[in-house]
Amino acid sequence: MSDMWLTAKLDIAESLRARWFLVYALVFGGIVALLFAFGLTESRVLGFIGLSRLLVTYIQLTMAILPIFVLITTVRSVAGDREAGVFEYLLSLPVSLWAWFWGKILGRYLIVFLPVLIAMTGAVGWALLRGIDVPWAIFGYYTALLAAISACFLGIGFLISSFARSTDVAQGAAFIVWLTLLLFLDLLLLGIMIQGKISAELAVMISLANPLQVFRTAALALFDPQLIVLGPAADLILDRFGLPGYKIFALLYPSAIGVTCMGLGFWNFRRGDLL
């Protein structure tokens, strides 16, 4: 365990020095600052107002940015380190493969999730200072949702890294995964359904299988579980499963994908050449 934490600390320190982390932290911190600066808490759209309005906008932007950021930076640093000879040296030290792999995941998870959490916590702190009501239940659920989606894409990133032998291949694969998930969001499914090319059941299945869609549906359903906001497939899902069940599913499913991908990545990392 101590070796795992040592490796995690090493990865955290490496990430804190990296430029990508600076950009990452600035993007998520900057979004919150900008949303406040543009007076979003005072605006009303689709019934959202105050900090709820800010949080729903933040979570929408996060959905667009966080997955690709996590995927690309993870595969770049892991595959890049392997290519550059960092693995050759550090893995010649007596650290177990388990501690090495999971330590890197732990370190990277903290580094990916904490800036997002800090930005949200900062928003809540600022709201409290300005006397704006804080929707604590929504804040808590969003935090858990972000933790789940971070784990999901981190796991996918590590799985890709364990298979790809070069940074270029790893980046390409990460981008294709993200693009595929993005394409199968509700709007595209709506188009296909209208053309009558797939059944509603299949569209629902695809929506349920897509962690990005699960994240989006869960985030929006807290505010307004209506067809116009959610999209047809998501609306159908909520209709069938109910909001409480879906909220739990939206936390467990992406987490399960992430942990499964991490496990598969570790299995592949351990069975083949380490370099």
Partner: protein, 294 residues
Amino acid sequence: MIKISNLRKTFRRVPVLDDLALEIGVGERVALIGSNGAGKTSLIRCLLGEYVHEGSVTIGGREPRRHRQEVLRRIGFVPQLPPPLAMPVAQLIAYSASLCATSSERIAGVASRLGLDVRACATQPFLRLSGGMKQKLLIAIALGRDTDLLFMDEPAANLDPAARGGLFELLAEREQQTTMIISSHRLNEVSALVTRVVELDLGKVTLDERTGNSDSLRTMLDCRVVARERDPSLLALLIAWRFTEVGSNEPDFEWRGRIAAADRLRFLGAITPYASATRSISVDEAAVAGAVHA
């Protein structure tokens, strides 16, 4: 200590190690030589458990891959190319020390003997160090702990003469109980360090000979150089090798110094371009009386 049998490693069906067999005993100092692509690095990676392979590799009866930590605790490794680590020197030392059950102070002590003050560069990123400093630090991490196996890829390549002297001293302290594999493209770089030479070509052992090298790593040689003129480049070279001027008998100038026997060929190679500027060079040691006169 090390037993390798039927070792085979392929990349995209191309064998880089081909049915390789080798046994290396305790205390042997082996030069692993061969051209690029001969399989030296792949062999070391198999020994470190970094590659999966066919055949068998055991170190002290244990497979490096299966008993990874147990085996790697015994091995100090110095790679040919320093890894581009962005972490500060102090962090690299602390991480290595924690994993290798040693102390940062011990590693710093070894680095100091190689001429590297780790306190002065503690906050610098490892990749910003000069080639020589990186090499010294990696050697210090490999030697600043209890190991009985050393795998070193051209360890002296980037070191100045003083640091090389320090390295030979450090190796000499472990001479009896430590098995060393020193990899190099050129035999003359490492010949004086080893007791056995193994040459690889296309993944096979093509030469395996004892060198009959009777020099201990502790052996030092007294050198005397008499120069015809004060050639600035020659003087710089002698100063770098820590020679001191002991007298002049115009137009000759006499310089004396002490070099490690393991560095003899390197020294003679370094001074060869100045043959026309020197009147005589002598290299003397009680047991090995080798005198070269220009």
